[in-house]
Each structure stands twice: as structure tokens, then as C-alpha cells.
């Protein structure tokens, strides 16, 4: 049976194995490779995307569970060519080193700012996404800057 979902504002259908993790549907079938594979067990957060606006780990999210839901990936975050304030802040703070985990970090940060528009360092410390390059101090700066850009309100 086909699974239908909304992916970055488009309706898509998937007819493969309903147990396939969303991550591999995104990467191998939808050809959206911005979402990354890091651990396969939902631990590192490189595969973080939004389902109905909430950050989830796509590597442990079966396709069956996203039927009828709205999935947003890093490719869908910028709208009509203008960057999301979190993406803007990430560039300003020059966060990326290798860059591999950053899509997941950004998606997790957007979700944090939705829940907590003026996050403290302690709020930011609840983020569990791993960065092997050690960009955490600049991620903190970027999230504070994004909170400023958002003016305390999440768009």
C-alpha cells in the first residue's frame, strides 16, 4: 500500500518497504541528501528532520509512521530562496568545519527555538546532536544570534 506524505511542501508517494527508515527514503529515493547518516540508532542526530514541525531522528523513523504527515528537511527550511534565521545565524557565526552534522544541528536548533524562543545555555545544553569537529561553542553563539534574529518569535 502506498504511503503518502508531504515532503518540503510537495505531496509524495512511497510504495516500498514501510519499515524503511525515513532517512533512507530521503537519501536514496527522494534524492534529498542534505539529511545525513551518522549512527543508524537515533543517537547522533545527523539525520534530524521535522515531522509536523517537531525534530525527530529519521534513521529510526519507519516510513509507515510518517504516512499523512508533514516532513521538512534541511532542503525545505529556506523558503523562496531566503534563508531561515537559524541558517543565517549559522553562516554569521561561521559554525561549520567539516559540515557533516550541521544540517541535523540546524534542524534541532530550529525545533529548540520553536519551544524556547529565548534559550539559555542550559536550554541549548539539552541538544544531544554530536559534532566530531567540536563546533559546539559556535553552535551556542549561532543559536543565541538566531534567537535575536527571530526577535523572540518563531516564524
Amino acid at each position: 500500500m502506498a504511503i503518502e506524505l508531504t515532503l518540503n511542501l510537495r505531496t509524495v508517494r512511497f510504495t516500498g518497504d514501510p519499515a524503511m527508515p525515513l532517512l533512507w527514503y530521503l537519501r536514496d529515493h527522494a534524492r534529498l541528501t542534505g539529511t545525513k547518516f551518522g549512527c543508524g540508532i537515533g543517537y547522533c542526530g545527523a539525520c534530524t528532520v521535522h515531522v509536523d514541525g517537531v525534530a525527530i531522528r529519521a534513521c529510526v523513523t519507519p516510513m509507515a509512521s510518517v504516512a499523512g504527515r508533514v516532513v521538512t528537511t534541511i532542503e525545505g527550511l529556506a523558503r523562496e530562496g531566503s534563508l531561515h534565521p537559524v541558517q543565517q545565524a549559522w553562516i554569521e557565526a561561521d559554525v561549520a568545519q567539516c559540515g557533516y552534522c550541521q544540517a541535523g544541528q540546524i534542524m534541532a536548533a530550529v525545533d529548540l527555538l520553536r519551544r524556547q524562543p529565548q534559550p539559555s545555555d542550559a536550554d541549548i545544553a539539552t541538544l544531544t546532536n554530536l559534532c566530531r569537529c567540536g563546533t559546539y561553542p559556535r553552535i551556542r553563539r549561532a543559536i543565541h544570534r538566531a534567537a535575536e534574529l527571530l526577535g523572540g518569535k518563531h516564524t
Partner: protein, 758 residues
């Protein structure tokens, strides 16, 4: 059966190839066309001048866009930004007009032996050499392109070139007329380049080198458009996962793939040979069974469905506990002498005091966030490789050796790499892609899972360090011995056969060698049947911990201040010989300066709250100098918190201060992460760790801010990717001692304070 015995030559049109799989099954595969042409490099393939092309690295578009080629492997060290900065500076263009384009690996055919040549020079990433390799070369590339543009303007104006100057991508005539680079580019491209080097700018005239410059492709990264190796695609490519022997040098005794072949999407199952037990590891690391499928998920399900009986290798009964016993026992023997100055035995016999301590360091895995992988298309004549690499030259040799394809006919693209840390200096995953693609008769992407990665690495050696210092009656250090019982780095390392056994484990010329009259460095090899590799700042990280913690111990034993002891040993600023990587000289004054700077910035010597302590350490790494000063607090229950973390560095002239800050911040966090909790252990011949929960990298909650201070240095630049790590672990352990009076000598920290390190 070799792929090229039967495969039709690949053409640009798709064709269907029917072939027998190794297991005897019929495999229908769609062998796709080669992707159209070569990736657009900046250099014309034919050698003919392309419009606006000024040398190998510069192209000027009619719309004025300055396209600069980035030649290095970008693994997070920032070379996609810093190397083009060198070119842009001497080309004399505003950085805002520059577009950076990644270059492919630039090997092309040549009539001269060996039949190929490099278009772009050094392209690998290892040993922090990109900036020093490029410092003259790429500034010259920019300056020579500027020379062509000036001479093109000189022809147009019939004016001597010496009277012309440049500013912001324009050539200026003394009478005020100007021509833009875009107007001049085609004419300049037709001129004969200068025969010898051209003069470079004075330091005072620079406007790009030394300026904080953000990551060139940051926008692509934050929008998910940046391509990493694992994101590579070739039409019709299949995905392969390999079930590898869990025992090093183990092999497949028997396997049943009937269930695996019934998994929808699975296209083939192939046996993969491993290295010969005891022989150098020249190709892949492990024997196994590859499952080839339409996508990752099908390959994964297929692999799960395999039933394999492994034949255990010779190391199948080993354990970390036994390894440590062997290392400690080795210390009782006499090993290989790596350096002997004066007479340490005599110094010991005549010493007023002898101090001795033993330190233990674990095996480490690289754990790049992006696991190893390789996407490969083969025909009998050509190959295309897309992968995250640190050694494209090694990958090219590997493919050529295994297939017979000429080096110049192997195209290698260099996407961003999700971390390197030395893991990708090895090309074992490329060898796997060759073995699978040859059997599958189709382009194949070999993908590693995290479990594959942690359990099949070239591990950082395990070692036990015995340090001995002798003091005279006035507390001065008269002798120093550093004996290392470790799993030799060169063990089965292809290409290292002729190296001494201590290479990669003993820092014979490292501080305090050359600063103590009687100095002794010795190596005692310890057996372990696992592959070894280079791990970010390999030797410096391995030796800085024991040496810099022991310096603290000696200072305390001699009732001296740890900083004062280091400065006294370093003595007058001078250059000492340093024969290993990062040499040929080590400057004592530069190490002293970063130590003093880190101490000053943290307020070394100030009164601290109870249970707080400050620790210091410094190290010379690959031509650069860094020191850390760390303040910790340790609660009575043993909970550790890092209060402040200061890093001072001298890496010579500063190319990109923003990038350097990132490297030292990241290196410091990597150092903390590793010192707190990371180790690889062996039980019954198998690696015990399998994924991040048992190889726990530091997370945001425990990542301190890092205060980075860069010395405004006049020395030629070193790299910066590795200097930020080695002094972290010893500074942290020295701080723990200062806070608790407990001297810990084993990495990682783990629960040694009675509380699991966060």
C-alpha cells in the same frame, strides 16, 4: 574472474550487462553511461587554453566573477577557504567577487615517464601540510595570473607593464584609465606565462591573508546542498554493505545467503577476500560477504539475513587486559634505542633524587561523523571514484594496482569529507569498492555503518609510557628517560617496512630532548593483532600526555612551579634539530611563548576557590606550537566540570584567523572528548565498542567555551588542523591534580574520580 574479461567497454549510452555472480546466480544489472565528461575542472583537459583560464587555478568569467580552484581535500580543516585566499590575495581581487570551485584529483596523461603528471600539486590532507605546501605555490599562482592580466593591459595600451598596477580586479593606467580583469581575461589567457617566479606582495599590502574569512561554501552547507562523499551519485549505481569478519585476520568458513537473496532489492551476494594473516595490509582490512542491492535499506536487510560461520583469526583470544600485562612486562626488557644523549645511567647513579611514573593510553578509533564509503564505476579502461578521501593519490594507486587501469584514466572527484582525523589516509574502503564493483559488474557504492566503522579501524596505538627523571641536589633535572611499550604503528603497515620499529610511538627529538644533558628514548614493541593508523596529531597526541603530566610531577617533587620548570628547561630561545614530521627545527622560544600566554590569559597563579585547579601543558606539533591552560572544579563526589579552557597558539603567519580559531576550538573539544571517555577495548579478539553509546563523543552539555589566543607571528605558516589537541589531555589531568591532589596517569579519565566523566 575479473570484470574486464567479459564486460563490454562502457560507452556513453546505457547498456544491459548480463553476468554471472561469483555465487553462480544470474545477475541482471543496468550498467549506466559514464556521467557526461569529466567534472569541470579548472584546467582544460586538452591543454588548450580555455576562455578566461589563467593557469591551473584561476578562471575569470565574462561577468567579472573570479573562479578559483580549491585543490585540497576538505575534511573540516578549512582548506576550501584558506587555499583560495592565498590565490586571491596575489591576484588582487576582492574576496567578495570570488567563487570557489572544488578541483578534482588532477592527474593527467603525460608523454614523460611515469606516464602521468599532476596538474595541481599536493592534494592530500594529512600532517597539517596544506598551508605550508601552498604558501609559496598558490600565492605564486595568483601572482602569475595577475602578471598575465597586467601584460594583457600593457599590450592594449602599448604601455610598459612596469608602469601599470592593479586594484580590486582592475588594471590601472598611470593616467587614470582602467581595464577590468573580465575585459582582459581572454587576451591574458593567450599570453605566455612568466618563465620564473614573480614578486609577491609585501605583508603590509595584503587585504585577504590575515582577514577573518568565513567558510567559502557555508551557504551550501546550511541549506543541505553541499555534497559529501556519501552523497555522490552515478546513474545505476548499487549500494553494497559488507559483513566483515569480527576477528582480525579471520575469514569466512561458510555462508548461507539464501534468505539474503530473497530480500527485495538485493541484486547479488559476493565473497570478499581479506588480507593474508601476518602480511602488510595493502588493500581491504577484512574478509567478508558483500550484499549488493538497489538501495541502502535493501542491502542492510540483506546483510542482516546472511548466515556466516567465521573462521577466527590468530588474535581471537586476546583482550585489553592481556595487552596491558604484555606492555608492563615489556618494560622489564631492553628495547630499541631511539635517542641517547650523554649517559642517563650515570646520571641516575649519581642523582640526588629519581622520580618515575608510568602512564597508560588506550587504542582509539577515528569515528568520522561520515562513515567510510566509496562510490566506484569501473570499465576495463577507465574508473570514476567519488568518495570522501584524505589521500586521493593513494586511492588512485590502489585502483590502478587492483585493476590495471592507467593512473591518468582514473578520475577522482573530491567532495567534502565528513571529517578525516587520519582515517581516510587509508583507502581500504576504496579497495572494497573495487572488489565489489568487479564482481557486481555495475557501479557500486560501498557504505559502512557506524558499527562497521568502530570495529574495523586502523586504531591509534595502545601504549604504556615509563618516564624517569633524575634531579641533582639543587632540584635541577639532570637526566630524562622515556621508555614506550606500545603496539608498533608500523605493524603490517604497507610502505613502512623499512622504518624503525619506534616510528609513530617515540618522539625522539621532542621536548625535553635537547634540553636535558642526559636523555634516553627507547621503544619496546608489544604484540597485538589489530591494524594501526594515524589518528589526528598522531605522535604528538600519543606523547604529550605522559611527557606533560610527568613534567608536572617532576615540578611538584622538586617543589618548583610547573610553568617555571618548563620555562627553565626550554631555556634561551633557540632552534633545536627536530628530525621527524614538523621539523627540521623546533624553536624553544615559541613553545615558551605559548605557555606564558596561556598562563597569563587564565590568570595562572591567582587564588582559586576550593576544589578548583589550573593545569598547563604545551606541545610542538607538525611545525606549530600550542599550549592549554584549563581550570577545573572537582566536587567532593568526584564530579568534574571544566570552568575555563584557554588555548594559545603560534602557527606562524595567520592566513584566516576565523578558521584558525575554529581549528583550535574544535581541536580542544576533540582533545577533551577523547581524554574524558574515549577508548577502544578488545575482548576475546573482538572490539567491544560498536556505536556512539559506547564510544561517547562529547556533547553540547559538556562542551566548554574555548578562549583561543593566536600569536601574531612572523614565522612562515604551519598548518593548524592538528595543533589544538595534544596539550589538552595533560592540561586537564594537571588541573585535576591541582584541584584534588590526585595524580591520575591513565587515559581516558572515565570514572577514575569516582564519578563517570560527563
Amino acid at each position: 574472474m575479473r570484470a574486464d574479461e567479459h564486460a563490454a567497454p562502457l560507452s556513453r549510452r546505457e547498456f544491459i550487462a548480463v553476468s554471472m555472480t561469483a555465487a553462480g546466480g544470474l545477475m541482471l544489472s543496468l550498467s549506466p553511461a559514464w556521467p557526461a565528461g569529466r567534472a569541470r575542472g579548472l584546467c582544460a583537459e586538452s591543454g588548450a587554453a580555455e576562455a578566461g583560464q589563467l593557469g591551473a587555478f584561476v578562471r575569470i568569467e565574462p561577468d567579472g566573477r573570479i573562479v578559483l580552484g580549491a585543490r585540497g581535500c576538505e575534511i573540516g580543516q578549512g582548506v576550501r577557504t584558506s587555499l583560495p585566499m592565498l590565490i586571491a590575495e596575489e591576484l588582487d581581487v576582492p574576496w567578495s567577487s570570488v567563487s570557489v570551485e572544488q578541483l578534482p584529483y588532477g592527474l593527467v596523461a603525460s608523454r614523460e615517464p611515469p606516464g602521468f603528471k599532476s596538474l595541481y600539486g599536493a592534494q592530500g590532507a594529512g600532517g597539517s601540510t596544506n598551508i605550508p605546501d601552498a604558501w609559496s605555490e598558490l600565492r605564486q599562482a595568483g601572482a602569475r595570473a595577475r602578471w598575465l592580466l597586467i601584460h594583457a593591459a600593457a599590450h592594449s595600451w602599448r604601455e610598459p607593464a612596469e608602469r601599470l598596477s592593479t586594484h580590486e580586479a582592475r588594471v590601472l593606467h598611470p593616467d587614470g584609465r582602467t581595464l577590468s580583469y573580465a575585459q582582459l581575461a581572454n587576451r591574458a589567457a593567450g599570453l605566455t606565462p612568466p618563465a620564473s617566479d614573480v614578486p609577491l606582495k609585501d605583508r603590509s599590502a595584503r587585504h585577504i591573508i590575515g582577514q577573518p574569512t568565513r567558510v567559502a561554501d557555508a551557504r551550501e552547507i546550511v541549506t543541505g546542498k553541499a555534497l559529501f562523499g556519501l552523497d555522490g551519485s552515478i546513474p545505476g549505481a548499487l549500494t553494497a554493505l559488507i559483513a566483515r569478519s569480527p576477528y582480525f585476520d579471520g575469514s569466512v568458513a561458510d555462508f548461507d545467503d539464501r534468505r539474503a537473496r530473497r530480500v527485495p532489492g538485493v541484486r547479488g551476494v559476493f565473497r570478499i577476500p581479506g588480507p593474508r594473516a601476518g602480511a602488510p595490509i595493502e588493500r581491504n582490512l577484512a574478509a567478508g560477504v558483500a550484499v549488493v542491492a538497489d538501495d541502502f535499506w535493501s542491502a542492510h536487510r540483506g546483510r542482516e539475513a546472511l548466515r556466516i560461520t567465521w573462521k577466527r583469526g590468530p588474535g581471537a583470544v586476546d583482550s585489553s587486559a592481556a595487552l596491558e600485562e604484555r606492555a608492563l612486562a615489556a618494560l622489564a626488557r631492553t628495547g630499541t634505542l631511539a635517542r641517547e644523549d650523554g649517559d642517563f645511567a650515570a646520571a641516575r647513579a649519581g642523582a640526588a633524587r629519581v622520580i618515575e611514573a608510568v602512564y597508560t593510553e588506550p587504542l582509539l578509533a577515528h569515528a568520522t561523523m561520515e562513515p567510510p564509503h566509496a562510490l566506484l564505476q569501473l570499465s576495463d579502461k577507465r574508473a570514476l571514484l567519488i568518495a570522501s578521501l584524505q589521500s586521493p593519490g593513494g586511492a588512485s594507486r590502489m585502483i590502478s594496482d587492483m585493476t590495471g587501469i592507467a593512473r591518468a584514466d582514473i578520475e577522482i572527484r573530491l567532495p567534502r569529507a565528513g571529517g578525516g582525523f587520519g582515517r581516510r589516509l587509508q583507502n581500504d574502503f576504496v579497495a572494497e569498492a573495487v572488489l565489489v564493483a568487479q564482481q557486481a559488474r555495475a557501479p557500486v557504492k560501498v557504505v559502512w555503518t557506524r558499527e562497521d566503522d568502530l570495529q574495523n579501524d586502523f586504531y591509534r596505538p595502545f601504549g604504556v609510557h615509563q618516564l624517569t627523571a633524575t634531579l641533582d641536589a639543587r632540584g635541577r633535572v639532570t637526566g630524562w628517560a622515556h621508555r614506550v611499550a606500545a603496539t608498533a604503528r608500523k605493524y603490517r603497515a604497507a610502505g613502512m617496512e623499512d622504518e624503525p620499529d619506534w616510528v609513530g610511538c617515540v618522539d625522539r627529538d621532542g621536548f625535553p630532548a635537547g634540553c636535558v644533558a642526559n636523555y634516553h628514548a627507547e621503544f619496546l614493541p608489544v604484540d597485538l593483532n589489530l591494524a594501526r593508523g594515524w589518528w589526528r596529531a598522531p605522535l604528538p597526541t600519543f606523547v604529550a600526555f605522559p611527557v606533560e603530566v610527568f613534567l608536572d610531577e617532576v615540578a611538584h617533587a622538586a617543589a618548583q612551579d610547573p610553568l617555571a620548570l618548563r620555562l627553565a628547561l626550554l631555556g634561551e630561545p633557540r632552534e633545536l634539530n627536530y628530525r621527524d614530521h614538523g621539523g627540521p627545527k623546533f624553536h624553544t622560544g615559541r613553545l615558551a611563548q605559548v605557555l606564558r600566554r596561556a598562563a597569563r590569559e587564565i590568570g595562572y597563579g591567582r587564588a582559586l576557590p576550593p576544589h578548583h585547579g589550573i593545569g598547563l601543558a604545551g606541545h610542538f606539533t607538525h611545525g606549530g606550537y600550542a599550549a592549554h591552560a584549563i581550570e577545573v572544579a572537582v566536587s567532593e563526589r568526584g564530579e568534574l566540570s571544566v570552568v575555563r579552557c584557554v588555548c594559545a597558539a603560534d602557527v606562524g603567519e595567520i592566513v584566516n584567523p576565523l578558521g584558525l580559531e575554529a581549528q583550535f576550538m574544535g581541536g580542544t573539544i576533540d582533545g577533551l572528548s577523547t581524554a574524558l571517555n574515549l577508548q577502544i577495548t578488545v575482548k576475546e579478539g573482538r572490539i567491544e565498542q560498536s556505536n556512539f553509546p559506547d564510544y561517547p563523543l562529547l556533547r553540547m552539555a559538556n562542551a566548554p567555551d574555548v578562549e583561543v589566543h593566536l600569536i601574531d607571528s612572523q614565522f612562515a605558516p604551519s598548518g593548524a588542523g592538528e595543533m589544538g589537541i595534544p596539550s589538552v589531555a595533560p592540561a586537564l589531568f594537571n588541573a585535576i591534580f591541582a584541584a584534588t591532589h590526585r595524580r591520575l596517569r591513565r587515559l581516558p579519565l572515565g570514572d577514575q574520580l569516582g564519578h563517570t566523566a560527563a
